[in-house]
Each structure stands twice: as structure tokens, then as C-alpha cells.
Symmetry: C2
């Protein structure tokens, strides 16, 4: 239908007849002289219809005069040099003198104009109009390029791209499973996979050696702004490996694709932090290293003070007292300080103590009175505080205090413009194997129940479960966990022991994971892997905060597709065929 | 963990120390001299542990003596030339003299041995053991290579790989939808997509120009041997195109990937048959052109006979009387002829007339008596029948007669060894737009309701719906429909008219497809596309009859995963969270 793309017409084609297809981006009728900006996926070219003696000219000019915004057109014409060059577009030195204009599809007036700043709801309802905008095209194409680059990289290195089922078995964290009633098995259900975890482990037992998949995963949970019901991960698994084999391989991959897709050179070697160090210095297991602020532990310096909040935490082996010095922070008003306290409270803080040092070195702190003057000076000195700074103090349980002080650190980094430009990847390693779930009164796995512990000895693991370290690792970039993985348990006896420590009894384990335990018995090699969040990486590369900008048809935070209207009611007869019914509302 | 792959150890490495990881494929202990065939994904190498004076030797020999089938091992040793060369394996000129043997994971006795011919149920239950067999590895790797080749081809030609949702809206053929209850919307459901059809059309409206996706699709229907609940298609769509643009592009792609993946040169130009011609000559819309047999229409020659079955069909404008000559078929016994009749009956035949010509030219036919001698001779002559042949005759409605005579043609081709080796692709085009559904008493779409009719004029389409031809096309290979597509309707008024002809009222259309009708109003370019069945093409390339051989974790014909045990019952509390319950059994 077309001989060339609109956006690629150039000076080398002057004098040639071309046939172009595209949308009318702009159409102007200057009294018989008509200009149409014709747009396709490559860009825009100017088309002119001007009165002349040529046969059929009147029809062409008349057709041009009737063109409206977003009409689909097929235009034949001759390329010529443009009088007034437009430097802003690639085709700006030429225009096409139309000899034929065919209207392939008239467009009705649009619900919103591409150049206006429409609300997200209307953009999602008319997603095709939204996606037509050059900004959206660019972001989506960044994602496409990312996936292409990843595949090419892995295909070239012996990784096998293998599809795993979408209709599969309910998993242990079943509460987040999407369920699908089975027509042939009344009362039974498939579940959509939260990840291909067990299948990829099985593939290693099956001898595929290196696996990857750009895999759709599903998690039925309350949506936060940056989550979707379905999401895409680059899922990978390696047989016959230790941690560094996996880490070095994927670090090289990430470096290569950042270079290829957005021409960014990442560090030649990513820094490595243990989980303990990341929590201690940054109050986070996914620290943003672009932010130079660091927490300082000051428990030793407050043990003898008279402020119970501090002394309780300082004397508790599971407690923490941490300080964060913000250079120039003395400028914060009382109101702004309250905002910091409120921010910390969102992460569980019961209060946020502070000390300001004004330009003269005078200290203003509600907690100073609990210290001897020397002790408070020593405390401030330990934080590195100088004139004009503020120091925030948090105290309480170790993890909670780390969390909220980490949140304060992020806010301060942003508020004070301390976050450097650029890309700061790192590895976080040596995670705790288990975390104690107060509510359930049992251990839960920090990564997942298939993560190998650092110790090989089952008795030792049992004896030291609380402090056990796993062989899990995360890749973090600018404060985002972009990848998470581990060496897996490859021995059946160890897997059973870990299930037991997690409160999964032998019978339950057999019912849910019998096939895994079997597989580990029949020749399972040591193996490990990782999964990367494609949506997040694409958003980072595209320079957008929202993963919805790099998903063609995203759902809202209320789990709806505004374009198609999913989800929707279904006739009862259709439900009957799959042996379910809508549950009457609870009284 | 390893320095080399087992299957790639070769003579160039003689004298080198290597560390290998793999499974014990065979382990023999010849009284202190032990041989282990160590296997990884690249192949097998022989490892020897023999008594020597070297330090630690006794431990190595002792460890080797304890190795059993499928143990996971890590072996260090020195490559040396082999005394008795084994030409059957790539590494057959060398062996590895072990200096260290580490057992990474002992294997328990396996439920079946890779070299035995186990039943499919046990193979599916222990899929990891089944997949470990070299035959399965080879078939799966053919599929992986196919997908890789397709992606590389399309990525290099400007196609955009875009993911479309898995959780989407119920479609018109809703009876086959998998439903997913929505937690946040009590009483509402998502549906899994039977194909990304509407999304890919929307992507064309959105300006992506060329789209592809290796897409998972879902159809909840009774499983035949060659179907799966979830299947994979190469889904493609093109904007600004006519039929030949799509067909030529994908024909080139299929040729390229057959060459690349299995080194087969397909025809430089695929033959093209209209649907009408395919039905007439082969009794099938997916004819296997490797089979030389063709149907012959003989209605004109039987109109005057006295056999009512023939005359009724011959005088019905919607009827057909077709003959199939099978060279050498006179050798069929009475019992074998009955088998043909039974086979035809499965496809709806009420009977199957025949005429045998023996070696002397004598005719044996139960229907000869209904003809004058000359008329029967003329009938046989029209079929090209010669001494030693059999001719089958079918009569009845056009499509049904074509169907069962097509089935007879296929059976005869197989039985008489007439099917040539090789690959016979073709295009089938010009399908009927609508087929009349006797049960529903209305038209249904032969392709789908978004397929464009060959005429642009709505009034003309309405007037001639019965004979209307669509712009659909199928790619057929060796009797398999491997791809199907069409030019789509891109005008809102035409789409509404087609919905109406299909009995979908304006309100229903708006509710189900309002977003499509909207999209067609706001600047929808002409577009079309195609989808290829990846599972089937992979099976054809791998030389297997069953698509289950090219799917890592297939389901059975009873829709179960024998490995994981999906589907399975789910606690009622979990169902309550998504607002459904199992339906009490109907009384």
C-alpha cells in the first residue's frame, strides 16, 4: 500500500514519486493551499496540495481541504525541497506535493487531543489514542528494545527459552493465587503462577542446564501504584553453579543491555553489600546508593542517658538506636521536622528525635535534656554533625528502626537534592534465611522456601535458625530491587528440613511439593537462578516513574482494564459449566 | 564448578586437567577398575578410575565403585587418549582419568529407566526424568530453536514484540473461556484470552505498525489428542496492508525458518488454492498435497441414474456427488472396503458406494445396476479408473460429502503408501464469510467476527451473505493448518453490519466490543494479520505426531498435570476471598 515511511522521506528522494500511509497529525487549509502533516511510526512529513493545471488537481485540493485530525490517509505525491526548512523533524528539508489523496478511514472527533494533558482514566479508556502519542511510543519501544536485547544476549550464550504452564497448581502462598475453575474436574481449580519457580528448578533436574523465560506472573493482591496483577519477569536458572556463577553472568548481562538499550555504562564491578551492612548503613535491603547519607549506630553512646526510648532500645539485643545526619538540615522548620516525623511514623516509628546545630554551633534538641552536656556532644560528634546540620534519631526494634530511618534517609536525600544523577547498581547478599512472623507465630522464608541456607548441615541449621543466613541475593539499582535470586536447595532431606522449620508438615509438604521432593531424590544437580522485573527495568530505562507507561494494556489500581471493561459479570449458566457460583454476600 | 562440558571434551585437550559435572549415565566396576559415563546436556564422556600409586587414588577408586545411575557428580581428572575408540559419541577418542570424585547428590533408584519404553502417564508424572532422555532433549531443543529463529527474523524486520494481557474480558465464544474470579470486584470475572485478536488490532490503531508476540492462548474445551488447554501461537499483525503484503511476508519467514531450523528448502512460491477449489479437489480446507489423490465431481453423470442417493444430491444445488479413484485399490477385500465405509461414516457419510475394476477390466459394483452399461462406463471413465483400481463414490450435502470423501482420500493415501516424503505448503484463500449454523439457526463467522468481507459495500454484503467470501487465508502444511489469518474490518460501520449479520445485536456488540467499535471510529488504518500454531510447527519439525513432545509440561487429555497434580481442590476459605463457591451438584 505504501512505498516509503512518512518519517523517513529525505533529500535523497527529491523528484521521486512516493506513496505514503499515515494519520493526519495536523491539517491546515490556507484558502486552497492545504498542508497536511502525515504521521506514521517513523515520524512526520509535510504534504502539500496546491492548485495547479495538472489533471485531477482540483480533486486533490478538494480532498485535502476536507482532511481532519487523525484521518487515515494514503497519499501519492512527488518529493521536493521545502521552502522553509523545519529543523525540528527529520524530514524537515522536504515536503511531498500530493497528486492523489485517498481517505482510508475518516476519524471522528477524538475524546482527547494527543497534545493535551489528559487524565490517566481517559487515557486508559482510549488506550489506543494514548499509545499513539510519540512519548508513549518511545517508552514502549524502549521496553521492546530491552526485551529484544535480553533475548539476543541469552540466546547467544546457550540459555534455553522454555515456556512453563500458566494453568498450574495452587502454591503455598495460596492467598495470592488467581484461581481458575476446572470444567472437567468439578470442584477443582488451577492457579495462575506467581512465578515459574518450581518449573524452572524441575528443568534443571531435567538436564536443560541453562534456562530463561520472559515469563508472565500473577499475584492477586491489593495493588500499589507500582504493581500490576500480572507482571513480567526475566526468569533464569542455572545448573551446576554457585552464587558467583549466577551473579557474574547476570551482572555482565545487565551491563551489556544498559549499554545497548540506553547507552549507559554501568560500573565494571557492582559493589556488594551484605544484608546486615545494607540495613546498618542505609536502613534498607535495597539502598539507593545515589543518596550519600548513611545511618550511624549510636546505641553505645545513649545507654547511659535518661531517655527511656533510647535506653530500652540500646539495651535490647534486638534493638537499635540509629542517627542520621543531614548536612544543612538545620534550615528545617518545626513544621518540616513534623513532616519527617509523620513520614517515619508511616514506617512504624513512634517518634523521631532530632538535634539541630545552628550556624553558631548552638544545639536545639528536645532530647538534649536527657544527656549530660558532654555525652550529648559526644553523641553528636559520633554522627559527624557540623554547624547548620540536623541529626535525626530513631530507636526501637532493629528492623523497624532501620526501616523508618531508611525512609527518613530517602526523604532527606530528595528534599535536600542530595541524590546524584546516574546509575548505582549493587548486590545485596547474605540475607537472613528466616524471619519471625509475630502474627503467625512461626518462621517465614525471607526469599522463598526453596532458597538454600548457607550451611549444609541440617542439625546446624535447626540449632541456629534465628541467625541462619541464606544463599539468596538481590540486584538493586537506584533504590529498586530489580532482581532477586538464590542458590536453591538441591537435596531432598534439606528441603524437608526447611519445610519443617517453616511449619509445613510432612503431609502438607508431600501434598503440595511432593513432585519437587521426588525430583530432588532422582538426581538433582546443584542449581540456582534469579528473576528480574522487566516492567520496572523498562520504566527505569524509559525514565518514567510508572510501570504503566511501559505496559501496553495495564490495569488500574482497582484491578480494572478501563478499555475493555474487565473484569465483568458472567452469565450464571457459564459459571454452572465450570461448577462454581457467585457466593451470596455474607450477612 | 566445572571447567568444561562433558560432551565437548576432545583430543585437543589430551593432557589437560578438567573438572566436569554431570549425571552417571552408566557406571561399571570391573573389580577395582571403574568406568563412569558422565553425561551433561552436551553429551557423554567416559571417566576412568583405576588403581595407581598417586596420593588419594584409593579414595577415588572407592568413590567410583559406589556411583550409581543418575548420581550427580563433579569429577576432576586428566584427559587422555582412549584405547578402544568409540565412534558413536563425539568424545569417543578420549577419556578422563579421575583424580577426584565428588558426589553432589545421590540418586535413589528411578521409577523408570530412561532407556526403557515407559508408558506416557509415568513419563508425565516424572516429567524431569522423561525430559532428561536425549530424544526428548532433542525435540524440545528443536522447539526452542524454532522460536529463537522466528524472533530473530521478526526483530530484524521492524516487528514490535508487545505483550498483551492474560487477565482480560470474556469474549463472544465465551463458552470456551477460562474464568478467573476477581477479588476486588465480587461477582465479576476475568477471562483468559483465546487469542490476543482484539488487542493486536488495537495495537495497529495505536500506531505500532508491525506487531508480533509468541502468545499463550487458552481454550477450555474437550481435549483431543493434539490439543492442550493452553497453547502457544506466533501472533502477528500489520497496519496499512492488503492480503498479499501479509502473505508474502510470512511466507518468506516460514521458508527462512525451515531452512534455519531443520535445513529444509520449501517451495520458492507456495501454491495457492481457493477454499472452493480445495474442497472440490481434496475435500478439505487443509489439503495434504503430498497425497496425489483427487476427488472428481460426477453429479452430471449420475443425474439420470436410478440410485436415489446419487440423484437427490446431483439435483440439489447445495449437493455433491464426488468420486475418488485409488490406483491398485481393487486389491481391497470386502472387509477393508467396509472399513473405508466406517471411516467415512465417522465424518458423516451415510454410505460409501464403490466400483472395483479387476485385472481383466470386469466391474464389480453394488451400484452398477442403477446405471445403463454405457452410463456406468462413462462414469468410471470420468474418474480415470483403470484395471486394478477401485473408485469410491460419495453423495449428499456439499460440505459433508467433501468432508468424508476428504477423509477417505487421506486414509487411502496412507494405506496405499501414496503420501510422498517432504514438505508441501500452500495457501488456502477466499473462504466463505459465513457458515449457517443449523442448531443456532443463524450465521456464524468461519474465521472470526473481525474478518473483513471481500466486498466493501455493506448493502451488497447483506444481500449476498450466503455466498460472501472473506479476506481470510490459511497456511497449510502437509495437511495441517499451521497458520490462519485475515484482513480485518477497519471501518466501524462495516463491523457493526457484520455483528448484525451474526446475530449480535447493537446492545450486545456495544457491551462486548464497544472499545473496538470506538477504536475503529478514531483513525483505524487498514490492517490484517495471522497467527501460527507454534506447538504444531515444532512437532512437525521435530518429526513427532504429538505436540506433547514439544511442550515441557503438557497436560493430559483429561486436562491434568500429572506431575504437579493440577487441578486440585482449594480450601473454601480461599474461594470465599474471591467471592465464589463450588456449585452444589445438580439433583
Amino acid at each position: 500500500m505504501r512505498s516509503h515511511f512518512c518519517g523517513l522521506v529525505d533529500e535523497s528522494m527529491i523528484g521521486q514519486t512516493v506513496t505514503l500511509c499515515g494519520w493526519a497529525d495536523v491539517a491546515r487549509d490556507l484558502g486552497g493551499l492545504c498542508f497536511i502533516d502525515l504521521r506514521d511510526h517513523e515520524g512526520i512529513v509535510q504534504v502539500v496540495a496546491e492548485p495547479s493545471d495538472a489533471a485531477g488537481n482540483a480533486a486533490v485540493v478538494a480532498a485535502a481541504a476536507k482532511v481532519h485530525y487523525e484521518d487515515c490517509l494514503r497519499i501519492t505525491g512527488v518529493v521536493r525541497a521545502r521552502h522553509s526548512v523545519n529543523d525540528k523533524i527529520r524530514t524537515g528539508k522536504v515536503e511531498v506535493l500530493a497528486t492523489e489523496i485517498e481517505v482510508l478511514n475518516k476519524a471522528e472527533p477524538l475524546p482527547f487531543h494527543a497534545h493535551e494533558n489528559a487524565g490517566e482514566d481517559i487515557r486508559l479508556k482510549y488506550r489506543y489514542l494514548d499509545l499513539r502519542r510519540p512519548e508513549m511510543q518511545k517508552m514502549m519501544r524502549t521496553r521492546i528494545k530491552l526485551v529484544q536485547a535480553l533475548r539476543r544476549y541469552l540466546d547467544g550464550r546457550g540459555f534455553q527459552d522454555i515456556e512453563t504452564p500458566i494453568l498450574t497448581k495452587a502454591t503455598p502462598e495460596g492467598a495470592r493465587d488467581f484461581l481458575v475453575p476446572a470444567r472437567m474436574h468439578p470442584g477443582e481449580f488451577y492457579a495462575l503462577p506467581q512465578s515459574p519457580q518450581l518449573f524452572k528448578q524441575i528443568l534443571m533436574v531435567a538436564g536443560f542446564d541453562r534456562y530463561y523465560q520472559i515469563a508472565r506472573c500473577f499475584r492477586d493482591e491489593a495493588l500499589r501504584a507500582d504493581r500490576q496483577l500480572e507482571f513480567t519477569q526475566l526468569d533464569m536458572e542455572f545448573a551446576w553453579v554457585r552464587e558467583r556463577d549466577v551473579q557474574d553472568a547476570v551482572e555482565g548481562m545487565i551491563r551489556a543491555i544498559f549499554k545497548e538499550v540506553i547507552d549507559v555504562e554501568l560500573d565494571a564491578e557492582f559493589p556488594r553489600l551484605t544484608w546486615a551492612e545494607a540495613m546498618r548503613r542505609y536502613g534498607s535491603d535495597k539502598p539507593d546508593l545515589r543518596n550519600p547519607l548513611e545511618l550511624v549506630d549510636v546505641a553505645e553512646l545513649v545507654k547511659a542517658c535518661e531517655f527511656k526510648v533510647f535506653t530500652d532500645a540500646a539495651n535490647d539485643p534486638d534493638g537499635r538506636v540509629a542517627a542520621l545526619r543531614i548536612p544543612g538540615g538545620a534550615a528545617l522548620s518545626r513544621k518540616q521536622i513534623d513532616e519527617y516525623a509523620a513520614h517515619a511514623a508511616k514506617y512504624g516509628a513512634k517518634g523521631l528525635a532530632y538535634a539541630k546545630l545552628d550556624e553558631n554551633g548552638a544545639v536545639n534538641s528536645p532530647v538534649a535534656k536527657f544527656f549530660s552536656e558532654g555525652a550529648f556532644a559526644a553523641l553528636l560528634a559520633a554522627t559527624g554533625a557540623q554547624k547548620g546540620d540536623i541529626v535525626f534519631f530513631g530507636a526501637g526494634g532493629y528492623n523497624k528502626t532501620s526501616d523508618f530511618m531508611g525512609a527518613v534517609r530517602l526523604k532527606a536525600g530528595k528534599d535536600f537534592g542530595l541524590v546524584a544523577e546516574g546509575w548505582k547498581p549493587l548486590w545485596v547478599t547474605d540475607f537472613p534465611m528466616f524471619v519471625w512472623d509475630d502474627e503467625a507465630q512461626r518462621y517465614v522464608a525471607l526469599h522463598h522456601p526453596f532458597t538454600a541456607p548457607a550451611v549444609d548441615d541440617i542439625a546446624e541449621l535447626r540449632a541456629n535458625a534465628k541467625t541462619a543466613v541464606s544463599r539468596g541475593y538481590d540486584m538493586v539499582l537506584n533504590g529498586n530491587e530489580i532482581g532477586g535470586g538464590s542458590i536453591r536447595i538441591h537435596r531432598s532431606d534439606m528441603q524437608s528440613a526447611v519445610f519443617e522449620l517453616l511449619g509445613i508438615g510432612a503431609e502438607e509438604a508431600e501434598g503440595k511439593f511432593g513432585f519437587l521432593l521426588d525430583a530432588l531424590r532422582f538426581g538433582a544437580p546443584p542449581h540456582g537462578g534469579i528473576a528480574f522485573g522487566i516492567d520496572r527495568i523498562a520504566a527505569l530505562m524509559a525514565g518514567t516513574e510508572s510501570i504503566r507507561d511501559v505496559i501496553a494494556f495495564p490495569k488500574t489500581t482497582t484491578a480494572q482494564c478501563l478499555m475493555t471493561g474487565a473484569p465483568s459479570p458472567v452469565p450464571d449458566a457459564q459459571l454452572a459449566e465450570v461448577h462454581v457460583m457467585v457466593r451470596p454476600k455474607a450477612e
